[in-house]
Symmetry: C2
Subunit: 110 residues, 2 copies
DNA sequence: CTGTAGGTACGATACGTGTCATACCTAATG
DNA sequence: CATTAGGTATGACACGTATCGTACCTACAG
């Protein structure tokens, strides 16, 4: 486990305020939703989501998710793999992922 | 029903982003938590919660909750009674109230 | 009438947030 | 080596948010 001390430590319940703030942003909700709907051990890079924002903005968003404890990130040198912390989320906040997955999102205009 | 058009109309699913933003604030979470734990038809005034903030700040917070569709307010001339919209919340976002109720909140120092 | 209690609208303030550009890093490729 | 891809830190900016004070409203009590 290579988490820094600003990340949510394993076994610590998630801080609800941080989680809700993190998920108030639509881009960050989409990240969690896609990871929640992917196979369990899925790991994805920031860039793989294809959001129409700058790399710096992506970095910021993934940092917020990580510090809220919603994802963990593994350093791969020139990339980082993000993984959903399903068990921790389901343990601290049962049903939250289901709420996110069930959100109806308007398709983005082409 | 005396809601204005900025409030969530009956029967419309709650907008998850607005709800999460509204609940990201600890004072607003406390409001919902107390209403959720009270008898079903409970109606309370803004001032009855006894928060250590100004009346204007209270007005702002209750407005955010109302516009997110989490509460409805009934005008009583010189006061307004806030009621939790349990059924709508439970219908749109099953389990959300349980998450809020189970949050462990540090007691405020005397 | 005045005072109290419970509100709202408005403007102002300090801080937070989403975004970007820039410079830099790591790693891989040709 | 240069280029590409995937990142981070930093600073700047525009906007949003929580807060307050003020003036005003409604309703009630004396």
């Amino acid at each position: 486990m290579t988490m820094s001390d600003t990340d949510n430590a394993s076994g610590t319940p998630l801080e609800l305020g941080s989680v809700l703030s993190a998920l108030a942003d639509p881009l960050r909700r989409q990240v969690i939703r896609e990871l929640a709907q992917a196979p369990v051990a899925t790991e994805r890079t920031c860039a793989s989501f294809g959001f129409p924002v700058s790399k710096a903005t992506l970095t910021h968003h993934f940092r917020v998710l990580r510090e809220a404890g919603l994802i963990s990130q593994v350093d791969r040198g020139n990339s980082r793999a993000a993984r959903l912390r399903r068990e921790e989320i389901e343990c601290s906040l049962p049903g939250l992922l289901a709420i996110l997955v069930s959100e109806k999102v308007e398709p983005v205009d082409p």
